[in-house]
Chain length 246, copies 2
DNA sequence: CGTTTCAATATGTATATACATAATCGCCGT
DNA sequence: ACGGCGATTATGTATATACATATTGAAACG
């Protein structure tokens, strides 16, 4: 009955991708509740008019992603969802520094408007080329470098930024209030300082650093990618959570 | 001529699983640095004496896990570390490891019941003395240490934990489900590995590590303090969120 | 000299097929 | 009724094969 030509979400072009997305749509929308047995491979085979390997690839991925559970001889079943989201609060660096009782200062090191290259697009999550603004600057706590900031701004999303000179105020505070962000993603990792970073932060090359990268979107449009590099001694991130409902 | 019969790690029985785990071992150990081109599919085909589909399955999974990047006509390359480590949620290391497609294992190193000293009380946020349980253990991804765990449990809050032997399951999963946590706090920082940590994680002393500390409360009572130490190469925390949590 | 075209190449996807493995159902004998 | 055992079934893994697609490098061309 339910043939497939009408499928709306073509999320990757490939057939197994579409099978996967069709099924996860059913699960995430609640149409197929936890415990529901999804069609057997051979049924999907005839429904999508494809080979079992193709169906198997989709179902295997769903199983690995934890959306379904597969049992030999019995079939595949929708699993109970079990993720626990949490909120991470990251402070503005000025506030962090001032909370330490130290005078805050920002100093721009470099600023450059250019056409986005492949790496820029990867960082921002852009598919097409366009103008970007690259800024590097240093946050000081007293006399001491507190964090190095490397920022990329998508000028297609925020053209006004192209006319600004971020000499003594960082682009972060400027962006907030001008561009309402709808989503953000943080990546946090440790890294050994290379020579350039060590020089900027006045630490030894090879010393451990905390790296926080943040990507921000405003209504699906990538706005900015920023990387903060902290000397390990100077920084600890604090994130507070309260549990969410299961 | 490097045939495979000598391979040590038989991680899942299936061939593509072993290929996957062999390669990720090379990457996580640093033997194949970021940017390194891994063998072509047809080369692995002859090395493992199997079909291209089998190799392809392993490499596709590695690509989906984010360990490698595949480029048509050019080959497959080790990506900069960003072990697609789920969302910064309840920090279950088993899930992180399995998301990489690697077999997970936990091994207890040390366990000790004692009366809390001043440092214990500071870590847990206790005002009065009492019994605590100290546990140190290692989380493995395949053959490789993935994270070192140092945990302190407040036995006044969770007396049953005193009768447990956390030999092959970490205390984290055990605590969840037994003790409903009401609040948690994370501290994230970078650190250079000292000798003991370097030994445990099989990395060089002084190498940068990511340290995630988590304190958990249940109805105002401190429950546990845990410290996870990751080699920098193997880990990136990812936290994603939206501003107004409807 | 720059541009266009084309063939080579590695990956991406899909096929039909085969056999292994685990779990279940139902038959059977005691 | 009961327990065991084989047949059935769905998934798990692997194969050889085929063609699509993206990208590179080099040859051909204006």
């Amino acid at each position: 009955m339910s043939t497939v030509e009408t499928a709306d979400a073509d999320s990757g072009g490939s057939l197994h991708q579409r099978i996967l997305s069709d099924i996860s749509e059913k699960i995430l929308s609640g149409a197929w509740a936890p415990g529901h047995r999804i069609p057997f491979e051979h049924e999907l085979t005839t429904e999508y008019n494809c080979s079992r390997m193709t169906v198997n690839k989709a179902l295997s991925q769903l199983a690995k992603a934890g959306l379904i559970e597969r049992r030999r001889r019995s079939g595949s079943f929708v699993r109970r969802p079990q993720s626990q989201a949490a909120v991470l609060e990251l402070h503005d660096i000025r506030i962090e520094v001032e909370a330490l009782g130290l005078p805050y200062r920002y100093e721009r090191l470099e600023q450059l408007k250019r056409r986005s290259n492949a790496e820029d697009r990867a960082l921002l999550g852009l598919s097409a080329a366009g103008s970007v603004l690259w800024i590097e600057g240093l946050h000081f706590a007293g006399q001491r470098p507190f964090a190095l900031e490397q920022r990329l701004i998508n000028l297609s999303a925020v053209p006004e930024a192209g006319d600004e000179e971020f000499l003594e105020i960082a682009a972060g505070p400027w962006l907030i209030g001008r561009v309402p962000w709808s989503e953000a993603e943080h990546r946090i990792r440790a890294m050994a300082a290379d020579k350039a970073i060590a020089d900027a932060l006045d630490i030894d090359p090879g010393a451990p650093c905390l790296v926080v990268e943040r990507r921000t979107w405003s209504a699906e449009h990538p706005v900015t990618h920023v990387r903060f590099i902290y000397p390990a001694e100077s920084h600890t991130l604090v994130a507070r959570f309260t549990p969410s409902h299961g």
